[in-house]
Amino acid sequence: MTVLSYLIPISLILGGAGLIAFIYTVRSDQYDDPEGDARRILSDEWDDHPKP
């Protein structure tokens, strides 16, 4: 059962990393236009160089 003392902190850290990543996406407005973002990938306009 000593393995638990590694596994539990590891799972909490991994989950926490996910949470922090999510908070980052919320703060950088990545949920403002889900439909548009899903469609933009289909356009090849800015494939060769990024949008200025």
């Binding site: 539990i8 909490l12 989950g15 236009d33 469609r39």
Partner: protein
């Protein structure tokens, strides 16, 4: 004609919306927003973004497809009204939006806060659920205790942070000595936490940490959906109200024009109203001749002549010549404001609608408390063991907790509003869909609602080529709506303009010119010397040389989808009524064209409101569709109301649903979607009740384990959400 004019009168909100004190620093860029109700795919995004970016003065443009809007950063002197023709040139219907920046960030912050709480609750509940699964699958003794303690250390801070919206709402309800949905929720959370902690400290078997967190997670999900739907509708509705800019041009003592706020106008001030402008106050014309469009106030389509001495009221549109008016009534005395009073009266008379969720909560909240209190008392008297009794009371509260009920309504309204938004309808009010589902009578306004407000020539074929070419040449000299319609129709028919000289517009009357040495005129009947007074909208063409003038008749163009929506509503068994302020022949003609049996003409605003109230008293649920000021009281008084985006601000504010595009067909679809949405809500309530009927006896009998609680809660929430998604 109203839509055409609206674009001319639409003074840029970005330029004038800022009140006087905010002009201290010169802006370095303008942020503009444009509503694009018809965009739907990535090609539209690219076209609009490319087109806007290539417009001189635009620094960057980004389309938001979810909100169907483009955000533009431009040079400070740019206006949204400069960009609308660009979008329309690209083939997209466009309206300008007031970037109500402050209000938008406010709702954004609240939404973001909810989303973060949802994320924290999700994270914590996953971890605790993982620990609980090992407990359920057989962890015992010290391991179980350790898992429980870890769960407790995750759960307590997580619930303290995530549950705040519920704590706040329950506290404010209790302070007002009321019960709402949040009181049992908070009680369940607190009781679950306290008993679980107690159990854990006694090395007990059952702890409800996972249930408390999952509950918070599902409830927050419902809250967040609810918030998103309402925030999107609210911000868009706020931004739609940008069109009426309260500015006027006052003539000062030296006879020069100065721009002032309408609030600063006083009785007796001389005000200049340019062609295409709206009267800011009630008054009397002192100088100039023109024609006035009263359609938004009265529903009349025929422009009336305005000459010195004539009375004008606030809201009328000046069509042809510049006018100077003397203010006779300002501010609260104007007819516009009296209309607002009428709306207030109609609104107070509107029966207060109790939403399905509220009526469910009213039954539910006391029921849950009584049930769990009974379970507690019963078990305490049976065993005289505080610990068992408390545990069972907590289990009852958790199992009955309304997480499916909390999701039942928001999940359905989100799905339905999203579907209607894609169809071009913006649902502003949270119970509008439920009310729309009950509608059995639909009342339409005519001018601007069933008609596009733009006239169409009906008898072009009656004119010979000479008359046509002269009429076209004359019509091009004016920006009067009838002249615009005539020149458009003639151009489409392939007519070439006759070579006329000295073309000039006589404001209030028409245009005249010389053609081959003869004076020719196009304009009002009396001016060109015509005898007959037609009941239909008409302009007269006089080619001189003793020939009697010919009438060019106009009819209002139907809005796209008007005929379809009327027949679709009639097919679904609804009574359709046409209620207009226009003259009898015009209304009768329209009613016959659309196949509407019940119509009323010459209706004053009071009549419209009274007619709607009368129908309501007769037990009918009325849907009012209207756009004018004269409809406002009726819109506010009806069971549910829809107005087009081109309607006046007051009408849009009074209505529950705004039609974003020009097409009327979504209204018929909306009724169907609303009926289905209400059916889904009821189904969801039934599903949630069914789960409770199975689980509550187990809980009261003391057989409920945290595993059963978690299963009942999650399956009922998921079934309810999936059922709601069927609407999409």
């Amino acid at each position: 004609m109203t839509t055409v004019l609206r674009h001319q009168t639409a003074v840029c909100p970005g330029c004038v919306a800022a009140p006087s004190e905010a002009v201290e620093t010169a802006p370095t860029e303008a942020r503009l927003a444009i509503s694009l109700p018809t965009i739907h795919c990535q090609a539209c995004i690219s076209t609009v973004e490319r087109g806007l970016s290539q417009t001189p003065g635009v620094r960057s443009a980004r389309v938001n497809l979810t909100l169907k809007r483009a955000l533009v950063e431009a040079e400070p002197e740019m206006c949204a009204s400069d960009l609308i023709p660009v979008c329309e040139g690209l083939g997209f219907e466009a309206h300008e939006l007031d970037l109500a920046a402050l209000a938008a960030t406010e709702t954004n912050r609240a939404g973001r806060e909810l989303l973060l709480r949802l994320a924290v609750a999700g994270f914590a509940s996953m971890n605790v659920m993982l620990l609980s699964i090992s407990v359920w699958s057989g962890a015992s003794d010290a391991t179980r205790d350790m898992f429980h303690w870890i769960s407790a250390t995750i759960t307590f801070p997580a619930i303290l942070y995530c549950g705040q919206p519920f704590f706040r709402s329950a506290w404010s309800a209790l302070r007002a000595r009321r019960l709402n949905m949040d009181v049992p929720i908070v009680l369940a959370l607190l009781l679950a936490l306290v008993t679980s902690l107690w159990e854990t400290s006694l090395s007990g078997e059952h702890a409800y940490f996972d249930a408390a967190l999952t509950l918070t997670f599902f409830l927050l999900a419902g809250r967040y959906l609810d918030h998103r739907t309402r925030a999107a509708a609210r911000s868009a509705a706020e931004e739609l109200s940008a069109l009426e800019v309260p500015r006027a041009w006052r003539l000062n003592a030296q006879g020069q024009e100065e721009e002032v706020s309408v609030a600063d106008l006083a009785i007796g001030d001389l005000i200049r109203v340019r062609p295409g402008g709206r009267m800011p106050v009630d008054g009397e014309i002192v100088e100039g001749r023109s024609e006035l469009d009263r359609s938004l106030l009265t529903g009349e389509t025929l422009p009336v002549l305005g000459e010195p001495g004539a009375q004008v009221s606030a809201g009328e549109v000046n069509l042809t010549g510049p006018l100077t008016i003397r203010a006779l009534a300002v501010g609260e005395e104007t007819s516009l404001h009296r209309m607002a009073d009428l709306v207030a009266i109609a609104e107070s008379g509107r029966s207060r609608y109790t939403s399905l969720a509220d009526s469910a909560a009213k039954l539910y909240a006391p029921g849950v408390h009584i049930l769990s209190a009974l379970a507690f008392v019963g078990w305490y008297l049976y065993t005289f063991d505080m610990r068992t009794a408390l545990n069972i009371a907590a289990a009852v509260l958790i199992i009955t907790c309304p997480c499916a009920l909390g999701l039942a309504v928001p999940a359905v309204t989100t799905a339905a509003s999203g579907r209607l938004f894609r169809a071009g309808l913006l649902v502003k009010h949270s119970t509008a869909l439920e009310r729309l589902a009950q509608v059995d009578t639909v009342v339409f306004d005519k001018t601007g609602t069933l008609t596009a407000g733009t006239p169409e020539v009906v008898n072009l074929g009656d004119l010979d080529p000479d008359q046509l070419s002269a009429a076209l040449a004359l019509a091009e000299g004016s920006s009067h709506p009838l002249a615009l319609a005539l020149s458009r129709a003639a151009r489409e028919a392939g007519v070439a303009a006759a070579p006329v000289q000295d073309l000039q517009e006589v404001p209030g009357y028409g245009t005249e010119a010389t053609l081959a040495g003869v004076r020719v005129r196009l304009g009002r009947a009396a001016w060109v010397g015509a005898e007959a007074q037609l009941t239909q909208t008409a302009t007269w063409l006089d080619l001189g040389a003793g020939v009697p003038p010919v009438a060019i008749r106009f009819a209002d163009a139907l809005r796209p989808g008007a005929a379809e929506v009327v027949s679709a509503l009639q097919d679904s068994g609804k009574k359709v009524i046409l209620l207009s302020g226009d003259t009898t022949p015009a209304v009768e003609d329209m009613a016959n064209r659309l196949g509407i049996q019940n119509w009323v003409a010459d209706a004053l605003p009071e009549d419209k409101a009274a007619r709607v109230a009368q129908l309501t008293e007769g037990g009918r649920k009325v849907l009012m569709v209207g756009d004018g000021l004269n409809d406002t009281a009726a819109l506010a008084g009806a069971h549910v109301s829809i107005s087009p985006a081109s309607a006046l601000d007051a009408a849009r504010v009074a209505s529950d649903i705004v039609l974003l595009g020009k097409d009327l067909t979504p209204i018929a679809e909306a009724c169907g979607v609303a009926e289905r949405a209400t059916r889904r809500i009821r189904e969801n309530f039934r599903i949630a009740t069914l789960y409770n009927i199975i689980a509550v006896p187990l809980a009261i009998a003391g057989l409920a384990t945290p595993l059963i609680a978690a299963l009942a809660m999650s399956t009922s929430s998921i079934t309810v959400s999936l059922n709601a998604l069927r609407l999409r």
